[in-house]
Assembly symmetry: T
Homo-oligomer: 148 residues x 12
């Protein structure tokens, strides 16, 4: 079972950027934790990052070999209908994750365009959000396999 | 470490109520799973349910001996400032969980009055939402202990 | 055939409360008329009143033996998602009635949270609204029986 | 006692039009039921239909010999201030009826311009809405006579 | 110089309709005053009334021989884009008049769709509004003639 | 194959009315072009015009022998739920056309009540909009025939 | 009979200011016309101008000897609750006039705070608006005298 | 003269709850001050607290022997139409008090559903708000007695 | 201890202006009561009135020798950011008072620009509002002195 | 005469993506049809697709040799001011096309940022929308040539 | 070349007022810097301050001998249509400056009524905003001279 | 001291694009002026342009060696949360500049997502906006150095 993990714009700066909100862990540390958990759960993961909306659309379109996507769309959460449409188009379950609790932030960050087409959303637990998101993705993928 | 789990209004009917949205598991089955996971994680849990806003306020006010709260406020998610104030008043981290993905439902269910005062939110994974929520609560409580 | 009739908050004061809006008939007089009409239509009715949102949720949850509910949710019409969810949960047709024409009153009284889950609504005919509501409930219950 | 019954635009197509929403009874079948009930209640009724807003205004203006109006303004419910003004101008009590529960439909069908000047509203009971509307109209007309 | 005067829907009931708002003068008395003033100002007038939006559009389209229009669109003031378009299409100056002060009435009567294409508006002086409107129309027509 | 073409209010004045927006072609010239194209496409067309909302509702109700409707509802685009309901009631595909690009005009002209029940919309190409609309109507009608 | 005429802020610049909107007549020319008309109607007038909101409030408060006020509140039309309250406080009928048609201008100029407490409004006829306003004021004052 | 004082939800925690906003005085200390002031003013008071909306409705319904109510509705200030209706129903003057200045807090705390049916409101003076509220209640009750 | 009392626009007309809303007491009678209460409380007061927004800003700017301000901003309550900024700039506690209950009046009177920078607000008790406001101001000033 | 045709994001997946909404034709099949029609109309076309907003801006900037653009901006229709500005900057007529009827879809898909700067819009006819759009583009380009 | 510089309400308190937002420089220090820069740029400046909206309107009306205006309208930025109209009336380019970045402050400070009639706006650079504003004013005035 | 200057989408077309709004100077001419001013102020500048949102995010992320950024985000001003987040992430002061006065343009151009995280904004002075922006950036960078 392969799971695709996508980090959206500015997440490559994690650990140096607004640490009061996003925490002090770097993206590499998070990726290490994700790889560890993947091993524990017996799944394979691929991790990608981009600051470009169009590149993220491309990544999702090419995800046919994955069983689920874990995506932190960051700023594009609130502005990208193109990413939303890509998720719908490939028809692979996507779990939306956020480091911060988006419901406690600026008005324009409280509405997600991705959430209505995602399988579910995990928001506000810092790097732990990614771990919970990966667990959720595996659980959904397993449920689907069993349903078959 | 003790964790309080609160089921809000109408959740006592789970498994018989709108199963298309909420799934076919009864509240007892969910509680059994929660007890199993608690044992696995080595924590103690107490589980309560009420249809009365005032009783839930009371429960939270009396939660001083707990390290965290996992709460599914159900219908009160969207209308109860009293529950919100109670959470702020006791100053214990609360994890908000929902069975359905509230961001895919009616307009009035997409806005949570609880979220801005909760530690985080898990929404949309069916009974699995409670399991993820319990994990999150334990993780937060541990982080706090370590910080001390 | 048994029909449940529920009076919401403050309706126990009918006849003494704002008679310019709600008329001078007491709740007992209305209940007498309802009992008379029930006899005429050959149905059995039970009548309850409460000022507590939670109690009304309980009443609806315990209405499994009734064929229909006639409910005047009064003030909770505009704020109670819990009552709305209870009606959906029990899956018994509910007829919403109002003494006054809610469309002629304050802005916040013109929107009913109950209406979208009710079978229909009767509003503005004073105590006669209850009589029409009971007739509607019987008609719906009969239609359902025939459909079986 | 004479009662005027007005069917608004497109209601002449009842029984063939969107039967999922409006039911399979034709306008003639409804009119027959209304005539039957009128006889039972001992009142005289006149029934008219028009697709033209101006003609409905004319009908209402010429209704001086009637004791009450039962009107299903259909599409004009939401757009016609002229019909609203006509009802106010003639000063005869009007009962607004709808086949479908307008509170469950598109946003723009949930607001009635007629309701604030109507005596009351009956909505959502299919053809039975007309029967309840006629009963309400007779009840109001009787109350007025007694008041004299 | 010929001026066309148009009375909109329900104005044929003036003097009997909501006299608290619209006054006790009948439409015939207002027309007499208008004829008197027309004579005094040395202009010819034609007076028409209709409850039908389409007929008022027709009247305006056929007004090519008139130098100005004085129109009280009544209820259509707030709903008719068709009358607005007709005024723009014939390119004859229109003076909008209202008996009551529309700015003191219901929210939906405070916005005029006609005003942005009218030369000007007179509102709130009862039957005197028509007299001032006729004076304004003559003044505009004269100004145009001089400009030639 | 017969197609019905309906011109809404004020379109009879085309060529003389606001030529900066609507162009200098008269309604007769447009109708000639439509007849020419109909011949080319091998379909029969009937062309009607009315300034009256009710008459347009009547036209649509009587269109049972037509395979499709091409309609420019003009001012009624933005105000007529009755025309919308008529289109839904007769269940014949309707193509909505506009001479001007309604998305570049006043706020209230940018929202169409007809579009959600139309098959599609062509807007902004002047008289060419009608030609494209007729082609679209024929294409839809053919597709339906094939589907049978 | 004495009538008070008040010019609001920036009207002292008339004839030099945005002549495309306000016309080329100076405030002195308008005042001359007003004096001429006053003589013709047999009334006495006083004319004042101020750029200061407080001064206009003072003027109105000291208007007890006048039978009516004709006021062009200019920019304060849309912002001054103080002038509105002053008009209500002195209880003398006020006629609101505007040179331009405020309904054709910027959004914020289309709402008048004065209109709901004015007797009526004349808008859009250039300097002629003042003449019509003076006639309206005299007509109202006469009607009041007769009523006594 | 008897005055009823009602503390709404969560106020039983005063002194321990968010002391930065609500101050460090406990509810007992406030009640002592109220009893002292009552003695000084020569009135009798009864003090009640509840976290339940329905219980507060009941309290108000049973307040017939009191001359005035001083109520701090706390979180219910912003959501309870039932309490609002109860105040209107018993027809006893109610003075609304708040410890914090609700106009400086979150958007949803700035609108009071109770204020429009209260005699007046005192907000922002900490425990002193209750003292001012009691004085206001006595003053209103005296005025009423004198008016008799 | 010196307290500054400021009456806003149109309050100099109290007792003659809309007595149904503002009561029949003149401003002199209120001032007399204030002076009496000041003597009783052992404080010195200065009382000022102005219809000019700028003058009130000046008064506040020159209030450095006062320990607190009691202000009824009247109409400027809803429009003056300048008065709001002046209160913030001088950093002296201000108590906002209103004769009428502003929450029961026109929409635009229900929002105070002053409240978010005031210490607290007293609204709806007629002249008694000023007395309660003065008491509140003295209480705040005393609390501040003690804190030093 | 050369025409540029641009497919926006996710359209490369046509035929496999949400076929209930977008139909079963692949982008290659549509392009073949477009090439066939281009030949029939005697024009040359170039066809491009991109998932990147910036690339589409670049394409439009480099379109100087084309006489018109036919663009389906897909998801960027609703979010891209940059594409809008590019269309305005190059000053070449653009025809906006949509496969689905955007007026029948989610709220956020009903508003086009491109429409106000496009020559016109064709929406809802499936692949036929492109054919009608190409015809419209040719017609506009011919009209421009004739005007020279 | 003469430039007029206008400081709006409360700016005379600069350096003592909310220094966290507005900085610690007094108005005299800013004026000295402005005089120094004026000398450097070879222009003459006049500096005025007022707390009165009407006086600022007067200042602008009397600015005919100046080539440009630099204005910090402070609180009136958001409320004064009278100052806006005065700027339009005198037809002299005005540069709007703000010490703080108004786009980072309260909602009501983010909308400027002056900006749409100003030549441009400089916001957020503290006292430096005035210096940049003076440079901009000189640049605009020079451009105008050259254009002649 | 090094300053980064970023031109957003479509600015590479300056001088040819909508010259009525953006002026006739090309981007090269503006860059020349910027280089001249940089020399005069003794600072080093780098100038970049892109039509791609992701590329601009990349540019900002790589700006660590610069002391300040001057950015004209053009169309992305109103839609890009990603650019906003990048500015916050790198923690270098950014000065936002616009050629046109965005407050005089379409509604959607009047709100900047960048302004709340920018140091300040200069808008409306044509190419001069860049010069003022560069001066502001140097002034901020100097102030920071002094603070160290």
């Amino acid at each position: 079972m392969k799971i695709l993990i996508i980090h959206g714009p500015n997440l490559n700066l994690l650990g140096t950027r607004e640490t009061g909100i996003y925490g002090s862990k770097s993206i590499d540390e998070i990726n290490n934790s994700l790889n560890g958990l993947a091993k524990e759960l017996g799944v394979e993961i691929a991790i990608k990052q981009s600051n470009h909306e169009g590149e993220i659309v491309d990544m999702i379109q090419k995800s046919k070999n994955y069983r689920a996507i874990v995506i932190n769309p960051a700023a594009y959460t609130h502005t990208s209908i193109a990413i939303r449409d890509a998720i719908t188009a490939v028809n692979i379950p996507a779990v939306e994750v956020h480091l911060s609790n988006i419901h406690q932030r600026e008005e324009f960050r409280q509405k997600s365009l991705i959430a209505p087409v995602a399988a579910g959303q995990v928001s506000g637990f810092g790097p732990e959000s990614y771990m919970l998101g990966l667990r959720a993705a595996v659980s959904i993928a397993n449920a689907k396999k069993e349903a078959v």
